[in-house]
């Protein structure tokens, strides 16, 4: 719901009425115990100035946000529903090859749009300002197995607050993969590439499992009541999602003798969406050029340092307008991590300004075409399967 950028950018005494996140407001002045190597050359004053410049970018977008943005998100919603409706309807006659290909393609695109540009962004509260109960972070439910509340906790709160801090942001490897040199090597990690290859087509189930926070539960950081509640919520959601695609749709398709084809169609669409989402998300923080952080780099972190961490810990994807839409504008991961609750259609506008700031302050701004970034993330998956060659693993 609320997200981190809010307290970071609006926590000034001047903006009296600006809402902010409650716990852990960041300091205006000072510095962390250690500044990350890529930002070590910056003085406290420079970081504070950078913070003011980024705040100004955000304020400028807030000033322009309005009808144009509302029309945009409604257009995407309409297109997504038309694709979903058309795709599922075509699959009901999947015995016909053309209908099957058209249905599976439309449903795959519908699912990708729904998760990436709609679900993820609406659940961040990017569209809450419209006060439309149909497009609101508290009411939206998505075509994805993990329940929205669990996702908002692990993603909006934990991941976006502790971006790339090893030991705090469990998105670094999702408790499954070794994705950073600072994670001690274990023989289990030899399977890194295999786990990742299996994870990709099953990504939504992997995320659902991850959102249960089983390690936290085992470590006693999550109560039994919370675990029971999350399990029940996941059970209900999973049953509905599973029965929609793998029972209800094939059953109706059996009326035209297309039950089996419809089942293969929905399985394919879900797999396509899973592989795509997995690829895009791995491009966010794993390609070469993105930094990870230690806990002492966030100890005493100011608002400006938080901004810096978001920028040097994230990577963009360059490409066409269509590609940006299909990634839910996560191709502007850097801008998204700076301002998680700005409407996604505005990220491309501010990207040149953010890049200019990075250049001026001598900070890396990592970006590249999709295939290069995916390759880079996979290279890391392979490299970290093996123990570090230069120093002992432990």
């Amino acid at each position: 719901m609320t997200n981190v950028a809010e307290h970071v950018s609006e926590d000034t005494a001047v903006e009296k009425a600006a809402p902010r996140r409650r716990a852990g407001a960041l300091a205006e002045t000072g510095h962390p115990v250690v500044r990350p190597p890529a930002a070590a050359h910056l003085s406290d004053e420079q970081v504070a100035e950078l913070s003011r410049e980024l705040d100004a970018i955000r304020d400028e977008v807030l000033g322009r946000r309005g009808q144009h943005d509302a029309d945009y998100i409604r257009r995407v919603i309409k297109a997504q529903r038309a694709l979903e409706f058309g795709g599922r309807a075509a699959l009901l006659f999947g015995r016909n090859k053309v209908a099957w290909v058209a249905g599976t393609t439309m449903l795959s695109f519908a699912k990708i749009l729904e998760n990436m540009e709609l679900g993820h962004n609406i659940l961040h509260g990017q569209w809450d300002w419209m006060r439309d109960p149909d497009i609101h972070s508290t009411t939206w439910d998505w075509d994805f197995v993990t329940p929205t509340r669990s996702w908002q906790h692990t993603h909006n709160d934990l991941h976006h607050r502790w971006t790339n801090v090893v030991g705090k942001d469990r998105d670094v490897g999702y408790n499954l993969l070794r994705m950073d040199d600072d994670q001690p090597w274990k023989p289990f990690n030899l399977g890194n590439p295999v786990y990742n290859a299996v994870l990709a087509p099953l990504f939504e189930w992997g995320i659902a499992l991850y959102d249960l926070e089983i390690p936290e539960y085992k470590e006693g950081l999550k109560s039994k009541e919370a675990m029971t509640r999350d399990l029940q919520a996941l059970g209900r959601k999973a049953a509905k999602q599973f029965s929609k695609d793998y029972l209800a749709t094939p059953l109706v398709a059996m009326l035209s003798g297309s039950g089996r084809q419809a089942l293969i169609g929905t399985l394919t669409a879900n797999a396509v969406r899973n592989v795509w989402a997995h690829a895009v998300i791995f491009c966010g923080h794993f390609p070469a050029g993105t930094d990870t952080f230690t806990e002492e780099m966030v100890d005493g972190e100011t608002r400006g340092d938080w901004y810096v961490r978001q920028m040097i810990g994230s990577a963009n994807i360059s490409g066409s307008k269509f590609m940006h839409l299909m990634t839910g504008n996560l191709s502007h991961q850097i801008e998204h991590h700076l301002f998680p609750d700005l409407p996604s259609n505005r990220y491309h506008e501010i990207a040149p300004k953010v890049r200019e700031i990075c250049d001026r302050y001598g900070l890396p701004y990592t970006t590249g075409p999709l295939l290069k970034q995916v390759g880079s993330a996979w290279a890391k998956v392979f490299r970290l399967a093996l123990p570090d060659r230069t120093k002992p693993a432990t």
């Binding site: 719901m1 009425a17 599922r88 509260g125 439309d132 508290t138 029965s243 929609k244 029972l247």
Partner: protein, 353 residues
């Protein structure tokens, strides 16, 4: 589809997590699983700065009674705003609101509404309605206060030969007065309906300090069930006149208020408002209703009349005290439901939303 719950339930197995209505809305915008909508069918100018907007509501609307009002949601620059408007159409007809340009939201409604637009709606409500049994009636209205009374007159006069209605309507000038033509025509056509138009540009305001003016305008006013609607001062003076008449039974005068007089704060209250479940915190002054504070902070606040009468905006108070902006009374205990539209923070406040 909403009329067939079993079919709807079956189809939703294919549409989850969306509702079947979400797909039907691709074809007809009034379909929605979550919110009542209506499509504008006609927009009729009334005066230079007012229009009547006719709309066809989707399923879930209940037919209005003459004199009731409804909350209308309208989008201004992408943001949903809710306001309450009296329904001016006769009971039994498609609803219509008559809106006068008086602020940012009503201005948009007056200037920009066109047939085919979608309005967001809440079902009609209000107890300012015609008596159950036929009685001689006196209607006292001023300015746009004529709107709910117009619905009553349109419902009653043409259909009931036994009706006996006197309308005293006060407006600034004939040009600025709503429905003048129609009222005159109705009075010509139906003997059971009499209209006294009072233009304040010519005669000043109607004097309610004594009964003299009323005696002259409607000799038998004491025998009539009276209804009044208009600006606050107009209603207050009429109310005090009726109160002074010891012979009249209580409740002889029914009143519909359009606005609430809010008291100014002492200036030193206000405080930090916490929206617990939404995880938002914002500094508020002592004069801004908590409803607005929440909306500005991006919290999805329940809201209604915005004048302290409909209780749609009630929220449980977890901690702190609030000041009632109408009375200045400071109150609040944990668990109490407070009306956020007329309550401001009196010190730190924690709300359960």
């Amino acid at each position: 589809m909403t009329r067939r719950p079993k079919l709807r339930h079956a189809v939703s197995a294919l549409t989850t997590p969306l509702a079947p209505e979400d797909f039907l809305a691709l074809f007809n915008p009034v379909f929605s699983a979550r919110q009542l909508r209506g499509v504008v069918t006609k927009v009729v100018p009334e005066t230079a700065d007012s229009v009547t907007i006719y709309f066809h509501p989707g399923r879930g609307w209940k037919a209005h009674r003459a004199g009731q009002w409804a909350r209308i949601g309208v989008e201004v620059n992408g943001v949903r705003h809710w306001r309450s408007y009296s329904l001016s159409a006769a009971a039994g007809h498609d609803p219509a609101i008559t809106v006068t340009d008086m602020g940012e939201i009503s201005r948009v409604l007056v200037r920009d509404t066109k047939p085919g637009d979608v309005l967001f709606l809440a079902p009609p409500q209000g107890t300012f309605v015609l008596p159950e049994r036929p009685r001689p009636l006196l209607m006292l209205t001023a300015g746009s206060g004529i709107t709910p009374v117009m619905s009553m007159i349109r419902t009653l006069v043409p259909r009931r030969p036994d009706a006996d209605v006197v309308l005293i309507h006060s407006a600034r000038t004939p040009l600025k007065s709503l429905f003048v033509e129609e009222l005159r025509e109705l009075a010509d056509q139906f003997r059971q309906f009499r209209v006294k138009l009072w233009f304040t540009s010519e005669h000043g305001r109607i004097d309610f300090s004594s009964t003299a003016a009323l005696d002259r305008l409607c000799g038998d006013w004491r025998e009539r069930a009276a209804y009044a609607c208009g600006p606050e001062e107009f209603l207050e003076s009429a109310e005090s006149l009726w109160e002074k008449q010891a012979a009249l039974p209580a409740g002889s005068l029914k009143i519909e208020r359009f606005s609430t007089v809010l008291a100014d704060g002492a200036g030193n209250d206000g405080g930090l408002v916490t929206f617990e479940a939404s995880d938002r915190e914002v500094e508020a002054d002592g004069n801004t209703p908590l409803l607005e504070v929440g909306e500005d902070a991006g919290v999805l606040m329940p809201s209604g009349c915005r004048m302290g009468i409909c209780h749609s905006c009630l929220l449980p108070l977890r901690e702190g005290q609030v000041r009632d902006l109408r009375t200045n009374e400071v109150h609040g205990e944990p668990g109490q439901l407070i009306q956020t539209c007329v309550s401001a923070a009196a010190g730190p406040v924690n709300l359960d939303i």
